[in-house]
């Protein structure tokens, strides 16, 4: 039988899904064990117990100096920056995308501008953001906003243009004004697209967040990773990376479930 026609069954699929993860973990821990056997003070590949101890220290013990639980404080700070940045970017992207995609008078000035702006590497203008907005929360949130808004706006503009002309004309024959047409016909059709676009830019949003935190911050997941790098504290860095990955994955899952829950019409209408 040709390879292309061979499908795994249910159990087989589960095994195949878990196999690469198990393989990675096995490789890591066997390498870690052999290094630690040679040199118990090795910091490069910490064992599970060392990482658990580091997590216990950061997440479940008060920090002596500040009296905070650092792990949760970092998580809270990072998530609020990320949420704020993504929220603002989504709102801006939606407005710009609809304006450029639906209103020809706005498309003319906006569309080329967005194309050019989305080519500016956001990290290259990070210093400008720190100069303009200071080293506070604003600059970090702005980096996320500036980084992902043009991408979102361009994607939504494209999606808005894909709405068939017939739909827009039909709405006008049903008595819609430009405003109510956007509110009742265009916006509801773009919201599921927005959630999909958000899932795609989630990775970049995390990238910009960690970059901003690494450079100028006093808390946050990115800040902690770059701080403990000086002591080569892999026992902290690795759990943090896993935690960030888990958070990003959960967000992606949440957005996907939200699309299914709020826009049940969307799956069928795509066909």
């Amino acid at each position: 039988m040709r390879l292309i026609n061979r499908h795994p069954d249910r159990a087989g699929r589960l095994v195949l899904v878990l196999l690469p993860f198990a393989l990675l973990l096995f490789l890591y821990f066997s390498a870690s064990a052999s290094r630690l056997a040679d040199n118990p003070g090795d910091k490069l590949l910490p064992s599970a117990t060392q990482m658990a101890a580091a997590i216990d220290r950061l997440a479940f013990t008060e920090d002596k100096r500040s009296g905070n639980y650092l792990f949760w404080q970092d998580t809270g700070a990072s998530l609020s920056r990320l949420g704020l940045g993504i929220g603002i970017a989504a709102l801006l992207g939606l407005c710009l995308g609809i304006a450029a995609g639906i209103l020809p008078l706005f498309r003319a000035p906006l569309s080329p501008l967005l194309t050019v702006l989305s080519m500016v590497p956001p990290l290259a203008i990070l210093p400008i953001l720190f100069i303009v907005f200071g080293l506070g929360e604003l600059a970090k949130v702005m980096l996320i906003v500036i980084g992902i808004t043009p991408v979102l706006a361009r994607d939504l503009e494209q999606r808005a243009r894909e709405i068939p002309q017939e739909i827009l004309i039909k709405a006008q024959t049903l008595g819609a004004s430009t405003w109510t047409l956007i509110l009742r016909v265009v916006l509801p059709q773009l919201l599921p697209r927005l959630l999909i676009a958000l899932r795609l830019v989630l990775g970049s949003a995390w990238l910009f967040l960690i970059a901003a935190e690494a450079i100028a911050s006093t808390d946050g997941l990115g800040y902690r990773i770059f701080l403990v790098r000086r002591y080569m504290a892999m026992d902290v860095i690795l759990p943090y990376v896993v935690w960030i990955t888990l958070l990003a994955w959960l967000m992606d899952l949440g957005l996907r479930q939200l699309t299914r829950l709020c826009f049940p019409w969307y799956e069928g209408a795509k066909a």
Partner: protein
Amino acid sequence: MKPIENRPVASESLTRSPERSTLTQPARTFIDVKNVWQEYGDQVVLERLNLTVNQGEFCTLVGASGCGKSTFLRLLLGQERASRGEILLDGQPLAAEPDSSRGVVFQRYSVFPHLSVLDNVAIGLELPRARLLGRLFGRAKREAREQAAAILHKVGLGHALDKYPSQLSGGMQQRLAIAQALIMKPRVLLLDEPFGALDPGIRKDMHGLLLELWQETGVTVFMVTHDLSEGFSLGTRLLVFDKTRIDPHAPGAFGARITYDIPLNSDRRAQRAAVAALPAHITGDLQSAL
């Protein structure tokens, strides 16, 4: 549903001049197309189009592909403006953008995929009344939905009020699109190959439904179709679009005109005229029943 009479064409008078056929009709002019040209750059699509249509006529537009019948429909809809000439609706120049006086059903994409069947129709009652939010609340919303449900029952979608359009068959979607257009009580209903994508059996049902609704509402219908027999069986007037002059070296140099204007189905036309002659309160009742 009423069976569709397919009257032989030979029994109808066949006139070449559009003016003569309309002169014989007593009703007053509703739509007046005066020397309309439509050109895109060098390409002439329609030239010297003259046409008068009375209220309540069912005009079917036929012709080869690319001969301008859909362009003419877009002009009537207000989606495009004529390069020359003008179109009068009840003596007034036609609004230059689509509005609620003209309903439309396209071959595809006529209904909103994100709204349920019921809301697809109710939105037509909500949009003109709620200028700010585009939606009604409380009792007004309930009433709009009841009205929408009534017309949906009429077109045979009473069982599918909560479904989304993607869950409906093609024929059902077109029923929905027609109900959606008619809830606005438009004066003109424009149909751009509405049944082009449907199976023959379903198409037959749709013809019956359309004629029934046309008779009840008294709306003036323009319907573009590729199917000549459909054009003959449905319309009270068949308009054939064709190019009278062709320059083989410059295919776009001359546009299409209405080459045949054939009155059809005279019994239905007479029936319509009789209804029009009835006192207004009776016909008003008929229309509000929908």
